[in-house]
Assembly symmetry: D2
Homo-oligomer: 92 residues x 4
């Protein structure tokens, strides 16, 4: 990934928050909490991961794909569309 | 949650593996790995979380919902269907 | 499916509305509408389909799974949990 | 949408196939088919819709976003990233 320092720092803090959320789920299981609450907490982790995914995809658009489009090389451009759609494929 | 010791232990080990996977994503970001690889690793975390969710839902079916059905109390049974569908709602 | 007449009628009207929504998407494509609008309309179709899926799952809980639990046959009960989780698997 | 004639024709045939699939679901409900089969058929409709969504998103990348990047106008480019991410937001 081509990341600015700000973005790398943002990902770092998001992922460390997610790690904490996963530990929170573990605690809830230990404490035999109501399964609806555990599922809600897992849902929050998934939303936080999706938010990271979207930020990675946007960064890819802004760097790799944009460079390919600006290069003026038609083949590189087509490849970068294919690559981006491959990144989306498992998600949509 | 009404969990047998075996199941609690299974959740514990799954969640601790997921925590490790999230740390793996952090490392990949630090190391500026290719964004497709980072996204794949995040996808694995999400699949592992979904697997935990399914196991929680199944446990809920086998305990709470089954008890409500077996109680012979029609109102309790209807409430347990409502409750289960609420658990599904954010997911489907 | 074990459907009451009311439920069958409800599914019929929901599915015929969804069919109309899909025709709406076709019209939007013919008219070269803004892609954000077309995607929103497709999203509505998907939400409507999910709503039908949830209703089918609930009906399955209320009929097949409930019968298996009430039968007092442990094996039938376990099979009905497996079957229900299989129905969920592609969705969660 | 900025669609070539080939692409418009491709969308038309995909959407008319999806319309037929929805009618197929209706028939399955009328015939009281096994709910697992009905859910599988609904799943096929949703996969087909997702495939249309991905094609719309790719077309948007290849036309609107590419034009904005090639325009050399930084503001237009940033807006087109925002717009694209908005299109993704409900989906990821």
């Amino acid at each position: 990934m081509q990341l600015s320092d700000d973005k790398r720092e943002d990902f770092r803090s998001r992922l460390s928050r997610i790690e904490g959320q996963v530990r929170g789920v573990q605690r809830m299981v230990e404490e035999d909490r109501y399964c609806g609450d555990v599922l809600n907490q897992i849902h929050s982790v998934q939303q936080a991961l999706k938010s990271v995914e979207r930020k990675i995809l946007r960064n890819h658009l802004e760097t790799c794909l944009t460079n390919a489009v600006q290069s003026g090389d038609d083949e590189a451009r087509q490849e970068s569309y294919d690559e981006f759609m491959d990144l989306l494929k498992k998600r949509i």
